[in-house]
Amino acid sequence: MNATKKIKNLRLFALFVVPSVFIWMTVVIIPLLYGVAITFTDWNGLSMDIHFIGIKNYIAVFRDTAFLTSMLKTVLYVFLSVLGSNLIAFLLALAVTSGMKGQSLFRTGFFTPNIIGGIILGYIWNFIFSYAITGIGERMGIEGLSTSMLTHPTKALTALIIVTIWQMSGYLMVIYIAGLTNVSQELIEAARIDGASPWQIVRNVKFPLIRNSVTICIFLSITRTFMSFDLNLSLTSGGPYKSTELIAYKIYQTAFSSMEFGKGQAQALVLFVIVVTVSLLQVYFTRRGAVEE
C-alpha cells in the first residue's frame, strides 16, 4: 500500500518536474555545454570544418588587450550605471510613495522607458543626441551642445550611462516601491513622534527595512548592465572608434564580425564567470547586514 502510494507520488512528481527539467536542459544546460565545447575549437561560426585547439582561445582572450580594455570600460559603466539607476530609482520610489497627487500616473510614466526595447530606445536617443540636442545647441549658440555627444569617446560613454540609468530606474523603482509599501506605518509614526526628521526616517527606518529590495535591485542592475548589448549596438555601435565597446558588444564583434566564434565563446564564458562571481559576492555581503522586520 505504502509502496503503491510512493510510486503514485513519484509519478505525479515526475509529471510536474520532467517537463520543466526538460525545458531547462534544452534551453539552458545543453546550449551552455555546447558553448563550452565550442571554446575549445577554431570554429568560425559557419565552416563545416572544425578543429580542436585546446585552451588556445582562453590564452588568446587573456592576451587580448582590446578585451581587457573593454572589460575595464564595462566595469566603469556598470559601476556608474548601477549607482545612478539605484539612487534615482530609490528617490523616485520615495517620491511616489509619499502620497503625492497623481502618484500612480508618475509610477506608470517612470516605468514606461523600461518597456521600450533597447534597440528602439537606442535609435531614439541616437537621434536626440545627434540631432535634437545639437540642433538646440546650434540655434542657441551653445558651443558645447552643437556637436553630438556620440562622436566623442568620453561623452559617448556618458551618453550610454545616461540612457541606461533612464531606462533602468523605472524598473528598479517598482521593486523599491514594493519594499517601501511594506514598511510598517507604525514604525514611521513612532519615529516621527520621537522627533525624527524626514531624512532620518528614510535613513534609519525605511532604508534598513528595505535591505532585501536593495539586494535584489543591485543584483538585477549589475547583471543587466554587465550584459548590456542592445543599447550599446543601437546607440553607439561601439563607437566612436571602438571607445564604447562594452564587453557583450566586444564578444559579439569577435564572434560575428571577426568570425572567431570559438574565441567569442571563450570571452562569453569569462564574462559569465565574472558576472556570477560579482553577483554572488554582492548578494552575500548585502544580505549579511539585512535587518529582519
Binding site: 509529471l15 510536474f16 517537463p19 569617446p153 563607437g239 572608434y241 564580425s257
Partner: protein, 458 residues
C-alpha cells in the same frame, strides 16, 4: 481528484506539444532540411511527377534599400515558375550575424546575396556553379566573375558593378569652375585642391566624408591602400605578410602616404568637419543634392538615397580619387570598382531540388528583362549581364558605366577577395575614423593598423 486529472492532462499536452516543436522537419522542400543531396535526388525520383512538386526556397538579401524591388521580382518569378515559392529574408544591421544564425538553426538560405569575402569564407557550404548546370552563365560578363572564383570553382554571380570615388553635384561644380565641369580635368591631388578652393569660393563645402567604418575602413583604407594600385595579387599578399611580421610599416609606404595626403585634403574641406563622425548617409546625401557640399566620398549605390531628393535637371557624376600629384598615374584618373555582392547557392542545408530552384531564381534575376529593368531603376547601378538592355537612369550608374567602357575602372579585388579579413573594415575603419576626428596622427594610425595585422599573425 478531478483537478488532479486536469493537471495531469495539461502536463501531457504541454510535453507533447514541446516534443512536437523540437521534432525535425521532414519536408524535403523546406529550407533547412537535411543536406543529403543524393538521398534527396533519390527521393525526387520515387515521388510524384516533377510538375506536381512544390519547392520552397529562401532568398537572403544583404542589399539594403531594395527590399520592395526584390519582393516584386519574386512575385514575377513565382508567377512564371509555378511550384516554386521563394521566402524573402532581409538582412538587418549585421548581415553576417543573421546569416550565421540562419545556418546555426539549420535554415541556411537557398540563395544568399553576400559579399565575396563572405562567400569565400563559407565556400565549403556553397554549390559550385558550372556551365553544365547553369548554361546561362554565358550571359554574365567574364571579368565580373573573377571575385567569385576560388580554386578554379565558381561560387557566386555578381549582382551589380559598383563604382565609387568623389560624387559631385554638377550644378555646384559648374558654378565653381565657371563653365561645364569635366571630371577628366582632375588628374592630380593639386587639381583636386584647386577645385575644392573654387567650390568653397561659391559658399559650398569643397567635399564631404561620411565618418563611418565601412566607408573609411573598407572603401578608402582597405580598397585603395591594399588594392590593385599596389600591384598584382602576389605583391599585395607580400605587403600584408610583411606587415604581419612587422617588416613593413604603413608610415614608410609611399602609396599609403599619397592616399592619406588626399584623405587629409578631403578632411580639410569636409562639410562635416565640425563633427566628422556623425556619419549619416541620408543627411550627407541631402547636403550633396542641395549643394551644401560640392563633392562626397561615396559610391554609385548612393543613388538610392539621392533619387528621392533630386529635382528635374540635377546631374551628378564621379571624380576619381587621386593617389598622387603625377598626372600620368593611371589610378589618378580611374575609379575603383567592385562587384560587391554576389548570389550564391547553399548546398549544405538545401536539397538538390531546392538548389536547382535556387539556380533558376538566380537565372531569372540575372537574365529576365523585367528583373533587370527594376533592378537598374531602383539600384541605379550597372549590371554585368550581357543581355541587359535596360537604360541606367541614375547619373552615377551612368558615370560608372562610362568609366568601365573607357577602361578607366579597376576592380578593387582583382583576383584576391581574401586579401583583407572580414573584420578589416570594422577594426581598421575605427582607426581611420579616429584619424579623421583628429584623435590620432598618421604615424599612430599606421601603428594601429600594424598592430591589427600583427595580432592576426599571433
Amino acid at each position: 481528484m478531478k483537478r488532479k486529472w486536469i493537471s495531469v492532462l495539461l502536463m501531457i499536452v504541454m510535453t507533447a506539444s514541446m516534443l512536437a516543436g523540437c521534432g525535425s522537419k521532414q519536408d524535403s522542400g523546406t529550407p533547412g532540411a537535411e543536406p543529403d543531396n543524393k538521398a534527396a535526388a533519390e527521393k525526387t525520383d520515387e515521388s510524384a511527377p516533377a510538375d506536381a512538386k512544390e519547392v520552397n526556397i529562401s532568398f537572403y538579401s544583404t542589399q539594403t534599400g531594395i527590399d520592395d524591388t526584390y519582393l516584386d521580382i519574386i512575385d514575377h518569378f513565382e508567377a512564371d515558375n509555378p511550384g516554386i515559392t521563394v521566402e524573402y529574408i532581409a538582412a538587418g544591421d549585421d548581415q553576417l550575424q543573421k546569416w550565421m544564425s540562419l545556418y546555426a538553426s539549420n535554415e541556411g538560405p537557398t540563395v544568399s546575396l553576400m559579399d565575396p569575402i563572405n562567400i569565400w569564407e563559407n565556400q565549403d557550404r556553397m554549390r559550385e556553379m558550372t556551365k553544365e548546370d547553369c548554361p546561362w552563365l554565358d550571359n554574365i560578363l567574364e571579368e565580373s566573375l573573377v571575385s567569385y572564383i576560388y580554386n578554379d570553382k565558381l561560387y557566386g554571380i555578381p549582382m551589380s558593378a559598383a563604382g565609387y570615388g568623389l560624387l559631385y553635384n554638377q550644378k555646384v561644380l559648374d558654378e565653381a569652375v565657371g563653365g561645364t565641369f569635366d571630371p577628366a580635368s582632375i588628374k592630380t591631388r593639386s587639381d583636386l585642391e584647386a577645385l575644392f578652393k573654387k567650390i568653397e569660393a561659391t559658399g559650398a563645402a569643397g567635399s564631404m566624408f561620411t565618418g563611418v567604418n565601412w566607408s573609411l575602413g573598407s572603401h578608402y583604407l582597405g580598397a585603395l591602400v591594399y588594392g590593385p594600385a599596389r600591384g598584382d595579387v602576389a605583391t599585395r599578399d607580400a605587403f600584408v605578410q610583411a606587415q604581419k611580421s612587422g617588416e613593413a610599416n604603413l608610415i614608410d609606404d609611399s602609396l599609403f602616404n599619397g592616399l592619406m595626403d588626399t584623405f587629409d585634403l578631403i578632411a580639410e574641406y569636409n562639410y562635416n568637419k565640425k563633427d566628422p563622425l556623425v556619419g549619416n548617409v541620408n543627411m550627407d546625401a541631402e547636403a550633396l543634392v542641395t549643394g551644401k557640399a560640392g563633392t562626397w566620398f561615396m559610391g554609385d549605390w548612393a543613388w538610392v538615397y539621392l533619387a528621392d531628393l533630386v529635382a528635374e535637371g540635377d546631374s551628378f557624376g564621379i571624380i576619381p580619387i587621386p593617389y598622387s600629384d603625377d598626372p600620368d598615374d593611371k589610378f589618378n584618373t580611374s575609379i575603383p570598382l567592385s562587384y560587391p555582392k554576389g548570389y550564391c547557392v547553399d548546398a549544405s542545408q538545401n536539397t538538390e531540388e531546392q538548389q536547382e530552384a535556387g539556380l533558376k531564381f538566380i537565372e531569372y534575376i540575372t537574365s529576365n528583362e523585367y528583373a533587370q529593368k527594376v533592378s537598374i531603376d531602383v539600384g541605379g547601378q550597372a549590371l554585368p549581364y550581357k543581355n541587359c538592355t535596360a537604360e541606367i537612369k541614375s547619373p552615377l550608374g551612368q558615370a560608372t558605366q562610362k568609366y568601365i567602357s573607357e577602361g578607366k575602372a579597376y576592380d578593387i579585388y582583382d583576383g584576391s577577395v581574401n586579401g583583407l579579413p572580414s573584420d578589416f573594415w570594422y577594426e581598421c575603419g575605427a582607426y581611420t575614423c579616429e584619424y579623421l576626428a583628429g584623435a590620432c596622427d598618421r604615424k599612430q594610425l599606421s601603428e594601429k593598423v600594424g598592430s591589427y595585422w600583427k595580432a592576426l599573425e599571433n
